[in-house]
Symmetry: C2
Subunit: 341 residues, 2 copies
DNA sequence: TTGTACGCGTTATCAT
DNA sequence: ATGATAACGCGTACAA
């Protein structure tokens, strides 16, 4: 059990000064003579030396840490974005501290305090509705922030996410083209997240604009199963004016709705189903569920880019940028009607 | 943009010494008079002071950081375990640094170096086959390690995972009871992970012991699609001696196999399907896919417990503990035959 | 090209 | 009960 060695020990072992060792592991390796370099390399290797990032951070004020706040780590969308975030961080020489809040404001505050304590240099945030005091404080201290998939009321920050209007338009165009005319849009409660509001609002507006019959249903997925079941049953039973379709505001909704439709033995396609968020199993549920895929990896990388750009240019306070990416439609059987061949 | 304040500023503002402020935020708050406490609290709050964890770590050698290495962050099983790990960390006052290696040994080494640099106090590892030099070095320096779901050859460390033998036995018993007698076990290449070897070996042994017809197929999921397709087709076409069933060694395999079975228009149940790892969509693919669920949350928490126990008792070097949890069978339609009512 | 000396923010030790 | 001071490991002026 070798104790962890310090820069001083390496210096002694190599017969050089701390400074030289520091330079060797820092950005000034070139300034060292070849002789010194190899001696230091040898000693460091033999002693298993690794610079202490804590000490580095202390000294330079640079933790090389990016923090990420995730509302629900078990949501595949979040994980996919996180994958992109992590890649981008690594590529740019940063490490990532991921915190899952389980949609709990208290956990969110705790985690923010922690990330503050570790002096993260930037923050990628996908979390609950209202900006906490901790968050404001972080922003106030000049820590670059990026909001994922949602904006916060009364809080200025960069954000990157989906072009919700385009996504809804694309969904409606597809459903219309496939002959569905009576639509039900189902979402989790929109109060929490701006993107939910955006999708909901656009749906209402465009359904009217296109002269379709459309209604909306907002309810919590946990605890609202019964209500969801009843609502869908009522929707399906009603005397049809046109073929019916359900539009799901995100992947969780798609999952819950698919469960209900199967329980009610509805035939996908005869009743249309289109979900926002592509999930690995959507192609498996016969005859395949049509989805709108988000470019998750790009979103994640873009978030980090945004962050690091603010960091590099020391540009806080310029007006927030909002980046919206286009969804991609993946047509499958759940939006192909069989009753009218 | 308020600059981040330090302990010294708080001390000055409150008219006390650094030491007292340090005590207030540390474990010795009681030793301070009520008067001092309230003055410090007020100043700290007004200045938005948070102790710098970097400095703390540097001074005390305690980073309060746990590292986690994940082979594939997009694997739901990994995420589920990670959820448990994170909960346990938080509950015990630690933060978690998660690193995804995408099954790439190079990334694994990089990440280990990073985690070393941040002086993580413990490491939860779910990663590729051979222990890298970095890993050995970490272990050698006394950092507690826990292996998740796999042991490493020629490398002693605690581990927590599934009781693979029990899982396979349970699967075979279920399939046998349901009348399947000709089995195909499909796994990703076992060289990478010990748990794959354990499942594979147990399958071979028990199939023989029970007098069943069993064969095995090992292949990489990416790039091996064609081969998988052919192998399953051959298995299905063969003249049956008994009802056939496929046993999938993990969730990824289940996904791939389900795709193939659907493409070949096999009726689930008529050809049995049982997968290790419960996934949210397994109940959705008609008539439901029978699975063996791992207690992911418990596994994650248990891993952290194991770590922290080593830490607390400063007990490195006592023989490695191995903790195995039982799988739970979730029977669904994919293992219910319809041809013999 | 290489080394000396100081400070980053904190906690631990020793006084008072 | 409180404070002064010395480390912790490192980077960086500055000096040589």
């Amino acid at each position: 059990m070798t104790r962890r060695s310090t820069i001083l020990e390496v210096a002694r072992d190599a017969g050089v000064s701390k400074t030289s060792v520091s330079r060797y592991f820092g950005a000034e390796r070139d300034r060292l003579s070849a002789a010194l370099q190899s001696r230091i390399a040898a000693s460091a290797k033999r002693l298993g030396y690794h610079p202490n990032q804590m000490a580095r951070g202390l000294k330079g004020g640079r933790s090389r840490l990016i923090g990420m706040l995730v509302a629900d780590i078990r949501n595949p969308f979040s994980v996919a974005v996180m994958h992109g975030v992590e890649q981008a961080c690594r590529a740019r020489g940063f490490s990532l501290m991921v915190c899952n809040t389980d949609n709990d404001p208290a956990q969110e505050r705790d985690h923010l305090a922690l990330l503050t304590a570790y002096r993260v240099e930037g923050l990628v945030i996908n979390a609950a509705g209202q900006p906490s005091r901790e968050l404001r404080s972080l922003a106030d201290q000049g820590t670059p922030l990026v909001l994922l998939d949602r904006i916060l009321s009364d809080f200025e920050a960069d954000m990157v996410g989906l072009d919700n209007a385009q996504a809804i338009d694309m969904a409606l165009a597809h459903l219309e083209e496939r002959g569905y005319g009576e639509l039900l849009f189902i979402s989790e409660p929109p109060a929490q997240a701006s993107s939910r509001q955006a999708r909901l609002g656009r749906f209402r507006q465009q359904v009217a604009a296109r002269g379709l019959a459309g209604e909306t249903l907002c309810l919590p997925l946990e605890g609202g199963e019964r209500q969801l079941d009843d609502a869908i049953a009522a929707f399906l039973v009603r005397r049809p004016r046109a073929p019916k379709a359900v539009l799901c505001a995100n992947g969780n909704v798609t999952l819950a709705v698919t469960r209900v439709l199967q329980a009610q033995e509805a035939r996908l396609g005869d009743v249309g189903l289109l979900g926002i968020d592509e999930l690995e199993w959507c192609s498996l549920v016969a005859p395949g569920i049509t989805t709108l895929a988000q470019p998750t990896d790009v979103i994640g990388r873009s978030a980090v880019d945004s962050l690091l750009q603010r960091l590099a240019t020391a540009d806080r306070r310029s007006p927030p940028r909002r980046i919206h990416y286009q969804a991609e439609l993946i047509p499958r059987g759940s939006t192909r009607r069989r009753d009218t061949p």
